[in-house]
Symmetry: C2
């Protein structure tokens, strides 16, 4: 039994607009067939693919790159090393992003701690308190 665009929207969390957009952009692994009435008729594997796409997108892969991956898959067997390279490269980037976020988190957490101490102990130390003032340049 096939799935309507609404079903797929529900199953993937993507809006129907996004699904039509993805189709125009060629992100699917096949041409989505239509019913005799002209409505999209998806199948489970389409949903599975979209769920993977969601993970790739959430982790920062641009649509153009998802499309490159989809194109490789559509080409059929023979280019698995290329697909592997693409995935490995993305994996590397996600790891790097996690590291970056952790570094940011450390900085932010330090600020939180400073403010906590400040808030629960009267008044301040170590904050960007009143607007900074400075001498004019080449006065």
């Amino acid at each position: 039994m096939s799935l309507s665009i609404g079903d797929v929207s529900q199953a993937t969390g993507l809006s129907v607009h996004a699904l039509r957009f993805f189709e125009r952009e060629g992100l699917f692994l096949r041409d989505i067939p239509r019913t005799q009435g002209g409505q999209r008729a998806y199948e489970r594997p389409d949903v599975d693919w979209l769920l993977l796409c969601n993970r790739l997108r959430e982790s920062g892969m641009p649509i153009a790159t998802v499309k490159r991956f989809a194109d490789l898959v559509k080409e059929g067997p023979g280019n698995e090393p290329d697909r592997l390279a693409l995935l490995r490269e993305h994996e590397r980037q996600v790891e790097a992003k996690i590291d970056e976020l952790r570094a940011c988190l450390a900085v932010i957490h330090d600020k939180v701690v400073v403010y906590e101490r400040h808030v629960e102990a009267g008044t301040a130390t170590g904050l960007w308190s009143p607007p900074l003032d400075a001498e004019p340049r080449r006065p």
Copy 2:
């Protein structure tokens, strides 16, 4: 000694365009003064603030939120609990994003492993091999 926009660009990695844009958007903690010739004259604390902004931005804080934080700081002492709340909320979001990325990474890594096995062992199992086919809907 004050810093030119080029100096600050170098020090922060932000383009001079971005620095002027940030100023228009009110992200600075003060009005950046000008030299008699009309050029921006930054000081070290401006750079320090921008470096913090960079961390906030890298970790996904929208410019509007950075501005809210800047506005709180500019208001001066008294609203530290609000600043703390803002930072804590962002901290929470960054932690959530890291978790999300880790989940994505697990999925991606699984795919990588599947492809590795496939590539270094002849032909396939468990991939989106040839384009999926399916029966038409309500035929």
